[in-house]
Symmetry: C2
């Protein structure tokens, strides 16, 4: 920059102004042109670090995901990066383990990069992480999962509606004995979907059977299903809180020699990639994850730029995707 100033015969500050679109009007046109062409010649690249030091920002946003390999989070991350980079920000991704203490130290690390904001996809219902970030004064947006207390903005799917779609579909097919494989109740999705299941069931005046899985994973889903089948034998339909759990249900059924949908109808949640190609193609509740990421990123950028502290909750509308894993119950019933 100094070189440009010398080459153009002006002061560094003039160069700075000439190169900033918002300040360019302060500089005479011919000087601007001289500076710009010199910058071109010298191959000038502004040093964002220096500018950011001065401006007290970093143009960086931290994104915390529970598990990068989980196909649900890939589209979310995609939507986030897309929107963020369009707004001139760059996402720093971090993969959080399970232990809360670990998470805090992970956030410490991310924060040490001086991120301007944070998008969390990891929070549990009552997460100390949120309080931690608030105390640090870092703008935070929750995505996919929300927290019980209303301390920060979030963008999530309408979990209650999603479960209602699933239950209504099963009930509409004629199922009466319907069970729910719940996700970890420490997560908002786990709790909200379970509540959604129960209220939807009671609208049909049906009793709901619920079994909580230890985690959002295939193996946990299989295990929960095994317990379920051992306890309540006459179930004909299962609404899982999550596609991964639904796959676990399928695993458990297969192991017991039961067929889906013939012996048992199964509905998932999320419509992860490839759910149309599993066997049987999974009827599930679709959530627009990519859009979720986009909105979250947009809200965060807004919060950073305008310093707006008002919290708002965006709730996306899920949609039932009917494939082949749910059929009417066998006529024997």
């Amino acid at each position: 920059m100094k070189q440009i100033a010398d080459a153009a015969g002006v002061h560094r500050s003039t160069v700075s102004r000439a190169l900033d679109p918002k300040k360019r009007h302060l500089v005479a046109d011919d000087v601007v042109e001289r500076i710009v062409s010199q910058a071109e010649i010298l191959g000038y690249r502004p040093n964002r670090i220096a500018a950011n030091l001065r401006l007290g920002r970093s143009d960086l946003v931290g994104v915390l995901l529970p598990d990068i390999a989980n196909p649900v989070f890939a589209p979310i991350l995609g939507g986030i990066t897309e929107t963020l980079s369009a707004a001139g920000y760059a996402p720093i991704v971090a993969e959080a383990g399970n232990a809360a203490s670990e998470q805090i130290s992970l956030v410490e690390t991310v924060l040490s990069q001086r991120v301007d904001g944070l998008i969390l996809a990891t929070v549990s219902q009552d997460d100390e992480l949120v309080g931690f970030c608030i105390r640090r004064g870092v703008p935070v947006i929750l995505v996919n999962r929300s927290e019980a207390r209303d301390r920060v903005s979030s963008v999530v799917s309408d979990d209650a509606l999603g479960m209602r779609l699933a239950v209504d579909h099963l009930a509409g097919l004629g199922h009466r004995r319907i069970a729910h494989i719940a996700g970890p109740l420490s997560t908002s999705t786990g709790t909200l979907r379970r509540e959604g299941f129960e209220s939807a069931m009671s609208r049909h005046a049906l009793p709901g059977i619920v079994r909580e899985a230890a985690a959002y994973s295939r193996s946990a889903g299989a295990e929960a299903t095994a317990h379920l089948l051992a306890t309540s034998g006459d179930i004909t339909g299962i609404a899982a809180a999550n596609d991964l759990l639904a796959l676990g249900v399928l695993d458990a059924l297969r192991e017991r020699g039961l067929r889906c949908p013939d012996d048992m109808s199964v509905i998932g949640h999320n419509d992860m990639p490839l759910m149309d190609v599993v066997s049987p193609p999974l009827t599930t509740v679709r959530i627009e994850h990519r859009e979720m990421g986009r909105i979250a990123a947009r809200m965060l950028v807004d919060a950073i730029k305008n310093g707006s502290t008002d919290i708002q909750h965006v709730v996306l509308r899920p949609e039932l995707v009917v494939r082949s894993s749910a059929d009417p119950p066998r006529s024997t019933s």
Copy 2:
């Protein structure tokens, strides 16, 4: 930091030294203690941006992926983030489109964040991106795909071996008419796997039938398969360059009323997540993507820290995973 200096009654530079483990020995023990405790009290957080400005670095690494939603890249990214954050670096992820021009401008954006290095998972065989980065003097590591010219380090899978495993398996089952759905030949994986296919076939003294898909996608795989079936009718086995392509093959077979593996054996490549649960469970070639990401990150960190410019190519050993999509051909042959 100035506050700490005042509170402890020393100069800022002393504080800096006391807080840096590598320089702490230059400061008297009691002073260190005073400074550390004051830092604690004042809740001091070092400003990495300032330090990095001075040190001319950013502790940031750019990661370019062709498509975040593609399940193959999620584990790679996972391995990268894991290793990077352990080394004190943070990954900035960017999703590259297809157009090369777009990619360059994307890299410009990433580079404007002053990243210390770059990991590219996007390159084509002869990619101007690589030259661009070299000219800019940014350390680069290629992952998953390599380039034809040997200008930078890379970590990839042994594509030739992978295809040989697939072909040997099919041939071992008794198949004689085997086709290959190749990936885009502009990518190293496309070319190398095709070459691997052909040389493996000739080892068995079999003629190889090859059809190139327009992209690594299900629809492109289905399309290529449709062409293939229309042209050469007596094929009994297909080795796809990629699981996504293999899923496309399955789609095309289904549409024609052909069953897998009864009418046609299919082998994929990559062993993406969920390939065990599709119908039929896919026999495929497993690649340790997460490990690939780890190694790439480690190599990049090494290149950044030691400024080592020597290029090296790490080649990972793939492994055949036998599931249910490949059986002996029907006895009619």
